[in-house]
Amino acid sequence: MPDTNTNAVAPGAVIAPKGRWHRLRDSDLAHSFLSSPVTVAAAAFAMLMILASLGAGLIAPHDPYDMASIDIFDAMLPPAWKDGGEAEFLLGTDAIGRDVLSTILYGSRMSIFIGVTSVILSLAIGVTAGLFAGYRGGWIDAVIMRIAEIQLSLPTILVALLINGILRAIAPPSTLDSIAILVLILSIGLSNWVQFARAVRASTMVERGQEYILAARLIGIGGMAIMFRHILPNVMGPIMVIATLNLSGAILTEATLSFLGVGVPPTQPSLGTLINDGTDYLFSGSWWITIFPGAALALLVLTVNLVGDWLRDALNPTLG
């Protein structure tokens, strides 16, 4: 992926056959990245959060899902620097004595996992729809774009809630908890494909008229192969930008759905669930149970947004 990006920015800028790392370092993209301290900081922070949550099992001070290690007498402890806080629980504990820092790490892992998988789903749906709409044209194009238009006029969160509700209505009630994550990924993924489809459709319509496509058709390559093997690699640039920008949105939508109680099951909380759990204790003054997961969520979304914004400006100034 790195070298396709650099090529997209500066075609033929570096011709000398250097190593990948050198080419990356000398590219415009890397230069633009390094000359924006905010982006570097945001990217570093986002990476840090992603790595920390991936390694939650290794670095979290406690295992919040190991019932044996939880002591109810540790419940509602404030953060370590406040009166009554304990050094063992840096960010305090929640109502049943779980370490807030550990629940945040595990919770971010769930949030990031659902965010990433649903973006991949949106990408797969959107790219396929966009390729078909752009390459085939005609009624396929009309139908896909009409659906896209209607969906685009509705807010994502509403579409996600509706799909969520419909899936819950169709699924047998007994299985609801076990498929909750799948339902969540489907509802977020299905509510976000339109942007991908529109971008891919637009670039596909340009590529369709190019000579290499005509050549491919002349030698008898089938439509599917042309779409996915010939056109797709050439329209991937903007897709990566949209994917990054969508990731923060997907994480937000997940948190919102979980906050509203139609997201992940309580046994596998995400950041949204943690925030929701914490609100019950806000009135007794235990703000840390809510505010810390909330801050983690906001920082995660903000940093991913910043990286996405930068990527958009760096790769294609006209895209925004």
């Binding site: 209505a169 009135f283 809510t290 906001a298």
Partner: protein, 331 residues
């Protein structure tokens, strides 16, 4: 003009038809309308009789027609969970949502447009850049978190404002509408939810107005207006702002719908007794008649807003009037 409007109308009707079909499919096939009406030990013949009586054995188009005609008259069936007609449930909660959403949209325009003009004109100023940074942070903080933080600050710590409910309401029009605008507790209850809901919208409007202002200020006619020696105020507001209105009106129109959707979240945070909370409970309880009804209501709302937005275009942009035949408004 007539062709433009009728084209838009036809499109709206098509959307409504499709949504109604989805809602009906949910209502009639996913949910089982008689499930709630029978006891556990009802015999098969009783069930069959009931199905026949309710017309569930009629051809699908006949049932669909019956559903649509019912919906038009406000009859959406009976809620599984509340055991009451869905139409009545919605009518009860509609005023709460509309007052909240209306106030929020008003707030977000009053905040967003002036700030957008200011940041657009003083692009490099310190205040403008500060505002932009704040707005990026504002976009990244989810609505529900803003609500929670406001509750913590103003209800828990300061104790100034209530954190849930509508407060005291007054019934108007013989009980058809309830309003919180005429009581102190009603007004106080409105403040936090309205700000929560308006914050995200105002940042969106501000960023949009700013971007549009930046674009417009670069154009030749602004340069000419300046060259003619017009005052700044006149250039900024009569020439520049006026021409940014097109996209702004569209976005504000679309925002209205977004506000209704985000009201689901705000209503949940503040336990606001509106439509959004009804819908959310319906999803949690798999209460299909309510879901179907909400779907139709919200689609209707969106279609009406889109239609009005398109017509507002027509009023604002004289170019549309000259070649209206093309139905020129972009989507």
């Amino acid at each position: 003009m007539i062709r433009y409007v009728s084209g838009r109308l036809a499109q709206s009707l098509l959307v409504m038809f499709l949504v109604a079909a989805v809602a009906f499919a949910l209502f009639g096939f996913v949910g089982d309308p008689i499930r709630q009406m029978i006891t556990e030990d009802a015999s098969q013949s009783e069930i069959d009789r009931l199905r026949e009586m309710m017309g569930l054995n009629d051809p699908v188009p006949v049932q669909f027609w019956r559903y649509i005609t019912g919906a038009v008259q406000g009859d959406f069936g009976v809620s599984y969970f509340h055991k009451r007609p869905v139409g009545a449930l919605i009518a009860e909660r509609l005023p709460a949502t509309f007052e909240l959403a209306g106030l929020s949209v008003l707030l977000s325009i009053l905040i967003g447009v002036p700030l957008g003009v200011y940041t657009g004109l003083h692009r490099h100023g310190r205040i403008a850049r500060g505002l932009m940074a704040v707005s990026l942070v504002g976009i990244s903080i989810p609505t529900f978190l803003i609500g929670i933080m406001l509750i913590y600050l103003f209800s828990v710590i300061l104790g100034w404002l209530p954190s849930f409910g509508r407060g005291e309401t007054v019934a108007l029009f013989g009980g058809a509408w309830t309003t919180g605008f005429f009581t102190v507790s009603g007004l106080k209850s409105l403040i936090l939810p309205a700000i929560t809901l308006a914050l995200f919208q105002s940042t969106m409007i501000m960023r949009l107005v700013r971007a549009e202002m930046l674009d417009v200020m670069r154009t030749d006619y602004i340069k000419f207006a300046r060259a003619r020696g017009l005052r700044d105020r006149s250039v900024h507001f009569r020439h520049a702002l006026k021409n940014t209105l097109m996209p702004v009106v569209t976005v504000i129109g679309l925002q209205l719908g977004t506000v209704i959707a985000f009201a689901i979240i705000t209503e949940s945070v503040f336990q606001w007794p509106g439509m959004g909370r009804l819908f959310l409970q319906a999803i949690q309880q798999v209460d299909i008649p309510v879901m179907s009804a909400y779907l139709i209501m919200i689609a209707f709302f969106f279609v009406v807003i889109n239609l009005i937005t398109d017509l507002a275009y027509y009023a604002i942009d004289p170019r549309l009037r000259t070649n209206a035949v093309k139905g020129g408004a972009h989507a």
